[in-house]
Structures are given as structure tokens and as C-alpha cells.
Symmetry: C2
Subunit: 621 residues, 2 copies
Amino acid sequence: MVELEVEPYGAKVNVKRGTRLLNALNTAGMTVRSECGGKGICGKCKVIIKDLSSFTETTDWKGELSNPELRSGYRLACGCAIVSDATVYVPEETRLMTRKFLIEGTERSVTVEPAVRKLFLRVPPPSLDDVRSDARRVLDALKETYGIDVVKIDYLLFKNMPRILRDAAWKVTAAVWNDKEVFSLEKGDTSDEAYGVAADIGTSKIIIYFSNLINSQIVTTESAENPQMKHGEDVISRISYALKSEAHLKEMQQAVTSCLNTMISEACKKLGLSPQQIYELTVVGNTAMHHLFLGIQPKHLGLSPYVPVVSDSINEKARNLRLKVNPAANVYVFPVIAGFVGGDAVADIISTGIHEANELSLVLDVGTNTEVILGNKRELTACSCASGPAFEGAHIKFGMKAVSGAIEKLDIEPNPYSVSYLTIGKVKPLGLCGSAVIDAVASLLKCQLVDRAGKFTEDFQSPRFAKMNGQKAFVLVSKMEGAARDIAITQKDVREIQLAKAAIYAGCSVLMKKRRIKPCDVKKLYIAGAFGNYINLTNAKMIGLLPDIPAERVTLVGNAAGAGARMALISRKMRQVATKVSRKVDYVELALEPDFQSEFTAAMFFPHRDLDRFPSLKNVF
Amino acid sequence: MVELEVEPYGAKVNVKRGTRLLNALNTAGMTVRSECGGKGICGKCKVIIKDLSSFTETTDWKGELSNPELRSGYRLACGCAIVSDATVYVPEETRLMTRKFLIEGTERSVTVEPAVRKLFLRVPPPSLDDVRSDARRVLDALKETYGIDVVKIDYLLFKNMPRILRDAAWKVTAAVWNDKEVFSLEKGDTSDEAYGVAADIGTSKIIIYFSNLINSQIVTTESAENPQMKHGEDVISRISYALKSEAHLKEMQQAVTSCLNTMISEACKKLGLSPQQIYELTVVGNTAMHHLFLGIQPKHLGLSPYVPVVSDSINEKARNLRLKVNPAANVYVFPVIAGFVGGDAVADIISTGIHEANELSLVLDVGTNTEVILGNKRELTACSCASGPAFEGAHIKFGMKAVSGAIEKLDIEPNPYSVSYLTIGKVKPLGLCGSAVIDAVASLLKCQLVDRAGKFTEDFQSPRFAKMNGQKAFVLVSKMEGAARDIAITQKDVREIQLAKAAIYAGCSVLMKKRRIKPCDVKKLYIAGAFGNYINLTNAKMIGLLPDIPAERVTLVGNAAGAGARMALISRKMRQVATKVSRKVDYVELALEPDFQSEFTAAMFFPHRDLDRFPSLKNVF
């Protein structure tokens, strides 16, 4: 036996003299890259050997190693056998990559294993002694070089295959999907070029993450308003529009596809890439967005019992979905859970990892519909709350999106009601984004200008009190104070917030009751969604938007659905996990829950009709 | 133990008292239909029980049995257990079908197991307690009712699925391909309606066999001239035309697809069916026809080393091939062997069954290119001979296709050269089809009017001798004798036949030499191709078209390629066999064989330069 030390890990392992280095590294638990499975072809398993005399070279495989590399001690791990105690250094490019997903405050590691592999091939040219078809010789070369038994070739590729192979003098790169299908063939070695797009189709906003599939880095991000918006801001209006006719449905599908195409084409221009170089897409969205993207009639999502047409994940060619990328690229569409709990909830789960956790977690993905997921690795329960778009600034008199000019943080000091605030982009304030609306309501409550029932008090003495369209209002920033216009919060705004937060709280509450769980049992609360990163947690709790869970257990995770789509883009395993998760989640239809209506009514109060629900606020109210 | 007698087979088997009848029948080796796997759902395993007291009914499953049936003793085999010695009759509809393919003189049985299954489902409707998606509940119903784990649904079906399910009150019939994909869903029970088309795309003629996939009967056959004909009668001219531009290639593809579409649409009209009811197609053709049908560039088929772009079988949706049948129907395209040995040769092999035979067989599929296949279950070797279209009547002065007015049989008696003949359709003779050309040449040879080198003798004394365009000619039927015009055979015609038959004979000869086989070792000779059914074997041997194999070993099998396509249409297993066969066949490129040229030259003589090759003709010459 001899000892092998592996740097930079510092691991030591004893192996038999004569063991192949590649095997020894595996024994030591150091998984290194080896696309050809140890045949000396791919050149990916290169390591630096400290003392060359401790190894024998069992083959003359030099892979793609250059002379300077060879002089520096680089060798292929598959071509060396260990003969005496030795030390090797595994350089970064040889390590099997894992990509860390940094979601604010949390971090998940995903092993990089995209469904798309680009593999360089030296295909033996035909001769009178070897008359195999072009296709067969490509598949045979894949088998011989990389040991993968691909059986399918995209039908349209047959049309160009003979020309590509001959133009390239039989040196080509095959793009292979899931080790099952060759769908693209390119001249020469392009194995280090592959891009993918993760798309998050939100009811209001569409975001694409443009990724390098080789090193799993995000190269650019684009976002745009969902162009379906003109047919309604919530999913119900979109469904109503789409069910009118086949033409309406088609229009809705085209709206989102052409938006994606525009974003992709702009990103490509910026990066100097061709859309042809995009080899896969992953798409996540709520169930209505999912159906409309696929051109599937969403009618029954709006009718009891609200069932989707399809819930399993879908893999379909980009050309059939009219996406302008490589026409044979696969589009992976996330599975959905139910009519109102879509792929975004599945993505929330896999990106927060609550399906693997021992501790009980709660995820709120706040939006026009707020998805609530409660559980851990044993059980998962989800529901959807019709929270409306108030937290996205809609239906609020001076509400706006979280863009430049929006007040994002706000506080009211009593006597004589001075208001401090922070504006996005540090420009003249134009309006209030969701987080500021929460701050405003919480401040009014704290100053007792609004009572626990949500009513403006009659004590109107300050010049900040006003009437707007017959509504009582409190001016937060007046034109004189430098705003573009008087920015106020009205009685109706407070009512909107009450409805929205009551819907979310009641959803959480019903789920917890069903599972016989108290807020104190929840060890982790993840808040996802557009406003997640700006929200003031104290104020959110003050108005009773969140259950009474200590602040240190709360994590703001931003666009968790988008993170899930990005994970699925670089990892086949995450797709299997998504399928498992989507089938495991127990869906609760709130409309069916006898407690829901009473929970909702009680939650209309600030923070709740029953103050026992908020023990940590007992000294405040 | 009790004894069960099974009629009409007369089989007897001893089974344990209490054994389920379905299992007892299986033990007795009587495979009966049971699509649901014995769950009392499909109603296919019905049998007639002679004495009902010999069984107990273990369930109340009555399947689809009517009251008159029940009174006549019909019961489901899956719902009865045997209690005492008993006799049951298995009616024809319950027997697992095998379909006999009658190819003239030979017969092959194929178990009917089409890739397409139509399965009636009672899908549980959704409720607030059961919010599975439409797709999931269809797949679950398939699993529960028929035990098959289908994972895929044709993407376009999602668009209509919700409407179909609800219009049909959740009673639907699913069309499933290869137990893998649901591709059609229909209202109500249409499980007894399914049609398929087997298409044989010949260089000259396209034939479709329209089949009922439920009972495997051919319902109609249509044929048409291949419309690519205007761009050349042989594959080389077609290839030359197609390689000129993308548009030419497309034109060639469209020509054959629209011909198929017209034939299918006419057949549907005749039968009162909708093209939607065609659920699968199988397509066979030589490699050039194969490439052109698929829109694949055939350029390299015409250039050494003559490799196809793709050789494995292809399954592609009808809509992608622009075939006007059910758009989601699968089109199975036969695998090919080499550039000049196509799917037709594979189909010849599976329909003659030489790949399963112990005895050594030779198959000749005579056409513009003649495929020659030699072998048995251990080895198969094939080559392609450029025999030209002479045997199809082309390049022969008075040659014509085997249609009404063509002389199909002919004999010349010497002194004073009287000619007897038989005309197709018993009308005025218009010309000579392939078989008559062979008869004419053989007769001229027999009368010594043509010598063994193929030269017209100088002894011109009869009025039947003539000169036509400077060519010596022999008038077979003159206008005066009732022909539409003087029908003759010319010196040039004899030369054409020499070239054609020499090509075929030399091909056979080279293959046999390579395998060290003598004609007397060949136990079966199958002659396939258009003229197969009319040919006079004695005359064919006389001119040396066939190796010297005794007549009793020769079988004329007509369109063996079409028979193979029909077999594949009703049997998944035959497709696996086709793939295996296509990979197993050893292809011989005649151009590379050093012996070929000398074999060809020697075979230009009648029957051969070396009379030792034809021992049975020694007394004739």
C-alpha cells in the first residue's frame, strides 16, 4: 500500500501500489472531471504531480496537454499509476464543479450537470470498407469516445448533417440532450461554448437569466413587463380574456413568446452571441402563466375545482414553441402543483431547500397571488392566497413599482407628524412602492392615526390630513416638501392593505392549523417575491402580514422562483427533484376550508383581532 | 387437481381446484386476449363455459357481456375459478390473433400487436377533493385500467384535452403509441376503430396498403406512378436532380408526399373514413426513395463510397412529414442497409423470413436496381446490381409496363416461326412487359435466331425478320396479325437484356463466391419485384438471369417489400426484427470486388460463357 495526498483538499488515502491515479482520486472521494470515462480522450482529468517519480505513465496519453504544462508536472489522472507515496494537486478546472446559489441570507450548492453536453468528436470518414451511414458513425463515435449510448438524432439535423460533417473534415462537436438525443452538430471543437436561458414568467414581470452552461455563470439578466398586462393585471382577467376564443388564447401565447424572443435577442446582441448558441431553456411560472406560455386553454383554472390541464413537467422543442433560439433546443417547463400553485412554488421549494430540511419551514412567495408552503423533508403543504396586487403598488392611490422615484422606506414620527423616507435612485419622490405602503400603514398604526380596525381616527389637526376624492388621506410627502405631487395614503389604501394581508395571514393560519403547528414551531420563514428584499420586517409584523415568528428566523430570498429555474438549467438532478416535489406537495384549497372565512375576517384587524396571536406585540398595542 | 379441456384446441391441462380460469388457460398455453391484465375491465377474455356448475364466479365482473351472451354461457375468464373438471370454448375473438401473410407460395404468421392501441377509459372527473390535472388523470386511468405506465402526451393534445374530456363526460378513448405516448383522445368508446397505412415507395410505383389495425385486415390497396418519375426513371437521375438545390430536394419530397396524400384521401373517401382515423404509417423504400421521402439530401448516395445519411429506423410525427393523416400519428420508416440496399431489402428479408431459416436462401428483388440477399439465420450478405429498367419494360423498343394490352407470356415455334402469346386483359396487344421480353429472348435463343453471344444470326428468311432504325429485329406480332402495331424485338433489346441479366447474375455469383457457396447449396430462391408473378422460370434460367437452381426451390413472392411494410404495421416485434436484420446484413460493394468485372463479362453470354455454371442446361446448348 502507498499513501496518496490530495491537495488542495489535504485528504490522504491509502491505495494499492499500481492503482490508477483516476481511481485513487475517486477512492479518496475527490470526484474529478472525466467525460470520456478514463480513456485519455477528453483531457479533463489533468492534475499536477509534485514528484513525477512517484508515478509511472501507463499510457502515452497526453490529452490536450501543452509542452509547458507537461514540464510543470501536468498529467492526465487516467494515464498514471501510483508507485510510491505521492502528492498531487487537483487544479480548479479539474474539480467537478458545484455552483453556489446565493439567495440573500441562504446558500444552496448544486452540482453542475446540465442536460446539454457538447462533445467534440473525431468521426472516422467513410470509405469503401466502412460504409456506415453518417448518423451511425456519429453515434458510434459518441459511444466510443464518451461511452454514451445515444439513440436519437433530431429529425431536422439529418438535413444538414452530411454537409456539416464534410465541411468540418469529420471533426465536429455534437450537442447532446440528456445523453439521449443529438440535436445539433457544429464544425470543429465548440465544446466550450454553450448557453442556456432560465425564464421566470411572472404575472407582472418576465425575467430571463442568460447563463453559460459550461461554467454555470450568469452572463446577463434581462427583465420586462409581461405584455399580457394589457389584458388584466391578475391571472383571473388573463384567463377570462384567453377563454373568449382560440385567437385570444393564441394572442396571449404570442405576447409572452415574443417578449421572451425580444429579451433573448437583445441579450445576444449585447453579448455578441447568436441565438443558435442557446441550447436549452428552463421556464417557471404560476399555473396560468404556464398554460398561456404553452398555448393551453386555461379556462378550467378559473372554474371550480380549478384543475390544470397538465401538471407534469414538459420537455418540448423550442421550434414548436416558436422561441427563437437553437430550433432543436429543449424547453423544460417546470411541473405545477395545482390550479393556483404553480411551477413558481415548486421552484421556491427547490431553491430554498425546505424539502430536504429537518426543521419546519414556511415559504411565502408574495405577489398578486401569494403562494404559501409549509413543511420539511417529511411533508409539504401549500395553498394560494388571493392577496391582490397591493404589495406591488397597484390599487394604491400613489402606489407604483419599485423603480427609480419610488419611496421604498418610510417612517412617521408623531408631533408634529414628520415623515422621513428613502427613495430609489435618490430622485424626487414619485410614489410608494409596496414596502413603503407597509411602512406607511404601520406608522399610521403606531401613531394611532389608524385604529386596529383600519379606520382613520377623527383627530384631524395636522395639515397632513386631507380629503382626496371624498376619502380621508394622510399626506406623506407634499409637493412643497419636494415631491413631484402630494403623495398620500388614503383610507381606501389602508382597506386594500387589510384585504391583502388578511388573505396571506389567513392562508398561513389555515395551513398551520391543518398541520397542528403554532408560529413558534416554524424554525425558518422565507419571504420571496418582488418586494422581498426591501420589506421592513418589524412593520410587516406590526400590520399582521406575517405570523408572529422571531425576526432572526426570517430570511428574505428575493426571486426564489427565478433561482429555482436557474438551478434546473444547470442540473438535471434538480429537475428530478422538482418532479418529486410537485407530486409530494399536499394542496389545500382555501375556499374549501371551513375556517378560512373566519380566519380571514379576524385577520382584517391590525395585527389581528385576537392579540394572543401576536405575543411579541403585546407591549405595542 | 381438476382437468380443464380447452376447445377448439382440444388441449387438456390439470390445474389446482380454485385456479382462476384466465391463469388456467395461460398454463395450458392458450394465450387469450386480456388488455386490462385480468381486472374485469376490458371484457376481452370472454369464453363459453360448457357447464356453468364447474366454475364459481369469483367476482361480479360481467364486462361488456350482454344478457343473451350470459345466457349462452359466456363469462370473463378473469372472473371465474374452476371447481371441477370442465370444458371451455375459446371463441375466435378471444384468441390472441396471428395474421397469416400469404405471399404466393409462402406463408408467414405474425402475431398482431400494433404499436397503436386504442383504449377506452372512464376517467374520474375532478372534484374539490381530487384536483389532479386532466393529463394526470388520463395517465392514471391508463395505469389503473390497463396497467400501462404511459409517461408522455403529445404536446398538441394538451390544447384540446380539456374540451374533449368534458364533452365526453369523461368517457374517452385514448390512442397510445408503443405504450409510451398518448397522442389522440376521442369522445366515447372508439376502441374498435383504428386504421393504418403501409406504404411501399418504389422508384417507379408507389403502393399503399390501407389496413384495419384492430383485425389486421387490408381494407383497400391503391397504387400510383411515382411522380418523381418526370425527373428520371432511375435513382441516379433522381439524386442528380435533388442535389441541384434545396428547392429541388424539397420538390422531390413534396412530389412523393402529395402523391401519398392523394392516395390516402381517395382511399378514405372510398371507405367513408376520415384521414384522422389513420393512426400510424409504415414506409419502405430503397435508400434514395427513403432520403427523398424524408427530405434528406441524397447527394452522397451517388458519390463513392455511397453512404446514406441515416440508416436506423426513424419514427417521426406525420405532421412533421406533412402527411395528411392524424397529425400526431407516428410514421415508422424502415431502416436501410447501405446506399444501394434500402429498407425494401430489409422488408424482403423479414417477409420471406430467411433471417430465421436454417436453410440457405437467396432473395432477388428485381427492379431498376436489383437487391440480392444471400444467407440464413446465421449470416446475411447483400449487394445491389444496377440491372436497369429493362425488366420493367423500359429501354426495350416495344416494352411497356405490365398493364392491360401488354403481352405477358410468349413462345416462338420454329418453322415457320409462329408466335403464340397471352395479353393482359385479353385485348389487342400493345407491347411487351418484362416477362414477355424474357420469353422472347429465350425463344430466339431456343430457335437459334440469336446466338449465345446475343447476336442475331444472319439467316434471315422469314417475313418476321425486319430492320428497324437500322437494327435487326424479329416481329413477334404484326399489325396484320391483330396487334395495334408491329411488335418486334430488336438486336438492341437483346443487348439490354444481356446487360440487365448479366448484372444480376454477376451479383449473385460474387455473393456466392464470397460465401463459398455453389448454386446447388441454395435451398430456396425467392424472386420478388413487380414482374415476379408472371415470369417463366424456365426461360429466365435459359437466358441465365437466375443461377442454376432447380425450379422446385424457386418461389415467386411478388411485392415482398410491401408485405414487410404490412407486417411492420401490425407488429411491433417485426420492427425490432427489422432493426436487428438491418444491422446484421453484411453489405458487399460490387464495384470493389475484383471478380465482379470478369463475372459480369462472362454472364453477358446466354446463359453464361461457362456452360458448367448451368449443368441443367447442358442438353439444351
